[in-house]
Symmetry: C2
Subunit: 286 residues, 2 copies
Amino acid sequence: MDRPQGRILLVGFGPGHPEHLTFRAQAAITEAEVVVGYSTYIELVAHLLDGKEVIEKGMTEELDRCELALDMARNGRTVALISSGDVGVYGMAGPTFEVLHQAGWRPGAGDVEVEVIPGVTALSACAARVGAPLTHDFAAISLSDLLTPWGVIEKRLTAAAESDFVVALYNPKSGRRTRQIARAQEIFLKYRDPATPVALVKSAYREKEDVVLTTLADMLEFKIGMLTTVLIGNSRTYARDGLMVTPRGYENKYDLATGAVRPGEKPGRSLTSGLSPGVSSGSSSG
Amino acid sequence: MDRPQGRILLVGFGPGHPEHLTFRAQAAITEAEVVVGYSTYIELVAHLLDGKEVIEKGMTEELDRCELALDMARNGRTVALISSGDVGVYGMAGPTFEVLHQAGWRPGAGDVEVEVIPGVTALSACAARVGAPLTHDFAAISLSDLLTPWGVIEKRLTAAAESDFVVALYNPKSGRRTRQIARAQEIFLKYRDPATPVALVKSAYREKEDVVLTTLADMLEFKIGMLTTVLIGNSRTYARDGLMVTPRGYENKYDLATGAVRPGEKPGRSLTSGLSPGVSSGSSSG
């Protein structure tokens, strides 16, 4: 081949504020000759697009975008497909690999090179704006039933509500799709206190950012739209002074006022309610 | 007060490679006079620490670190508490707010200022190294029962397995804590095909990165440790050429070979199995 090898860069650019972009994501957009994304996303990285070919596409044209990117990359070009948040979380990475695989693409076979560049996902960005709601196990559920049968979504909502996950709802509502969020609230109210803290975070870190801290009972009284992420606390999450915090669980082992270890517990060991006492140690963040 | 106002910066520095740090996270570490974190974390950002006071702490001293940070900030200093990944996801943000609240801290009351700086979380970084496993609803579950009763963890494992979430297991195993991951596998095998793709990602983007793509049946045959994130696919996730991809669901609506819409379905509308036909539109990434 006399053409240079083409590349597809799958870029998550984070919440949409230039400070919360990673160095690699910025470099990748800069390296690209062609940048493909929704118009909203293109606007958010407009400052990086001088001199590039820019292809804006609508919401229902995802697969077209992936195919176009592949065509251009097979012609030797470097193409960035951009998503806000993390490109792997409900983003373009999945559909792109599906299209590549359908087209017979194989990694490292002289065909197009693909790089996935992770970003700060919407749930991390939204959580940061309200304190620390994600300090314990959490689930992300999209309420969009465009491509997922509603029965599957409802089953996941029930499972997450019942087993006390902190939950981030993506795509909670749109112009025509309004009943899903009401049904989600109903499901959670079966298993959680109506006073459970709920944060509605729209456009975190962007100009039109809007943050509402409310409760499970009252959440539908506020505006929820396409750009809102809904964070629902677990049974231990508390709200205070506009912040939402999910405890890590130190109170299970320590008296927080005195720092003393509770009777029967040992630092660095499983809780006494454990799978097999005394086989535990260590945890880390991430 | 004649002292400058102190600040606590809660910084998620992402997977640990300088390119996958956000601009704000780097600036925050640079602004800090004191940087507090586990020794592993301190090493990963060592290039940013010249001339700073650095306080390394062990794994079981999290609350001490938060208290120390508050003391120093109340003395007018700028203190960064750093976590790898996202500081809000099983990170230092939660325990810090707990300690602050216990100490009577209130935001905007002339007391210490707190800023949460989100980062690329471990699940995004690990997912990026194996393709696109998180394209659909997912749950994050820590297998550490140091602070969470094992019964709660097991309930969440069962719920996530049964309702077909993609699952990221954090803290799957440590020196003394080895039975939890085996029990997790047992639970998943009740609900998912033994051939379900599983990725074991250790130290994503770091020098000692190690990625294994295996299956639910075989996952325990490989090394799993404190620094491993275990990604378990959902019922649709497939593995191909060393990549793990969870489909978005286009095949529910479209014939992927021809692009034709399936009988009874409409682009931009709920699937016919929906909550109420014809009330749907729109989804976005994140």
